[in-house]
């Protein structure tokens, strides 16, 4: 390809050589000669091609295992300007609290994070007070338990990793605070994982305490199916089917990993608006200032 471009551009250069230096007085022109334009076009095309090849080479080739890849789901927050569905986030929090929190911690989330995003301050306080938090030391040097406050983190179900592994047959339930950005496929993967349990196909023997999930790398996962129809009862009356719960908890996990999600998209909108406004102004000003330069005539006389 480079050879072709080299040859054609050389020809183009040769063509432009003749007749460039005429002794006649010329008007200064900012427009390139036709040949030069052609060279520019070719260089441009070559650059685009090179970028394309580079991008193709940079895309990783993922090893194809036996696991399924999750389909792309039409999440309501997929668009560039689409906020998270707050009602869904709130239902997802309920699913997490009543189901997943039995095994999974979310150590980077505090009760205060809920205020104003999915519940009122009073509701968040009430939720926090339901858990007992270790605090201290008091004046005698003893640690004591007190009801949670807004500033407290979500409680962890296990005291440490060893306890978590011991209770789950050797598998560690990961912290869910950042699980969505931490997995290929994000919420698509988590949704597919939660709803994708099935019988192990013939020939695959599962160790005791493992379950078959085609979306989990390797297929054998240490988490029992957590969601089924009517596993909880939603406070807003939405029918709690397994897929509804999975969808809500996925949106909740996305929110948890990115509480600034809505503000970020709003700032993006503002940035696009203000920068396109400023681009229009600078284009106008450029034309305005250059109009003098472009329309002047320079005549060379003997």
């Amino acid at each position: 390809m480079a050879a072709i471009i080299g040859r054609t551009s050389r020809q183009a250069l040769l063509v432009t050589k003749s007749g460039t230096f005429s002794p006649k007085a010329n008007f200064v022109s900012f427009k390139g000669k036709n040949g030069k334009k052609w060279v520019v076009a070719m260089v441009g095309a070559a650059t685009v091609g090179a970028v394309g090849v580079g991008a193709a080479l940079a895309t990783p080739v993922l090893a194809e295992g036996v696991e399924l890849h999750p389909p792309k789901y039409p999440w309501s927050h997929n668009g560039l300007l689409s906020a998270l569905d707050a009602a869904s986030v709130r239902r997802g929090y309920q699913v997490y609290k009543q189901v997943c929190a039995a095994c999974h911690s979310m150590e980077y989330l505090c009760y205060r994070n809920l205020v104003g995003s999915i519940m009122t301050e009073e509701e968040a306080k009430k939720d926090a007070e339901e858990v007992m938090v270790e605090d201290g030391p008091d004046e005698e040097g003893n640690m004591f338990k007190r009801p949670g406050k807004l500033s407290d983190k979500f409680p962890a179900p296990y005291a440490n990793e060893e306890a978590a592994r011991f209770a789950n047959g050797g598998s560690l339930p990961p912290d869910l605070s950042y699980i969505v950005p931490a997995r290929h496929g994000g919420e698509d993967y988590v949704f597919a994982l939660l709803t994708g349990y099935c019988e192990a196909p013939g020939g695959i023997a599962l160790r005791d305490g493992l379950y078959y999930n085609p979306y989990f790398p390797g297929g054998a996962i240490g988490m029992a199916p957590a969601l089924y129809n009517e596993v909880i009862e939603y406070e807003d009356g939405t029918p709690a089917t397994a897929s509804q719960c999975a969808k809500d908890v996925c949106i909740f996990l996305r929110w948890a990993s990115e509480p600034e999600h809505d503000i970020r998209k709003q700032m993006g909108l503002k940035a696009v608006m203000i920068f396109s406004f400023m681009l229009a102004i600078s284009y106008y000003l450029k034309r305005h200032k250059w109009s003098v330069l472009k329309s002047r005539k320079i005549a060379f006389k003997k």
Partner: protein
């Protein structure tokens, strides 16, 4: 034209008033721009933001499907 002329004479001609005009203009532009952009965002996402769904929770009754 005479209106623009008047504005020019009154405001933009002197540096002090020009600077003042820039500052107050920036203030009001920023307010208007922010409110406008936020209203647009709320319009695009109507029904999804917390303010829109608040009433569905907490209080008994009023159930709404998405």
């Amino acid at each position: 034209m005479s209106f623009l002329n008047k504005v020019y004479q009154a405001v933009f001609r002197r540096t002090s008033t020009f600077a003042l005009a820039v500052v107050t203009g920036a203030f009001f532009f920023e307010r208007g721009f922010d409110q406008g952009a936020e209203a647009l965002f709320r319009y695009v996402n109507r029904g999804k933001l917390y303010e829109d769904v608040k009433h569905q929770f907490g209080g008994a009754g009023e159930e709404e499907e998405e």
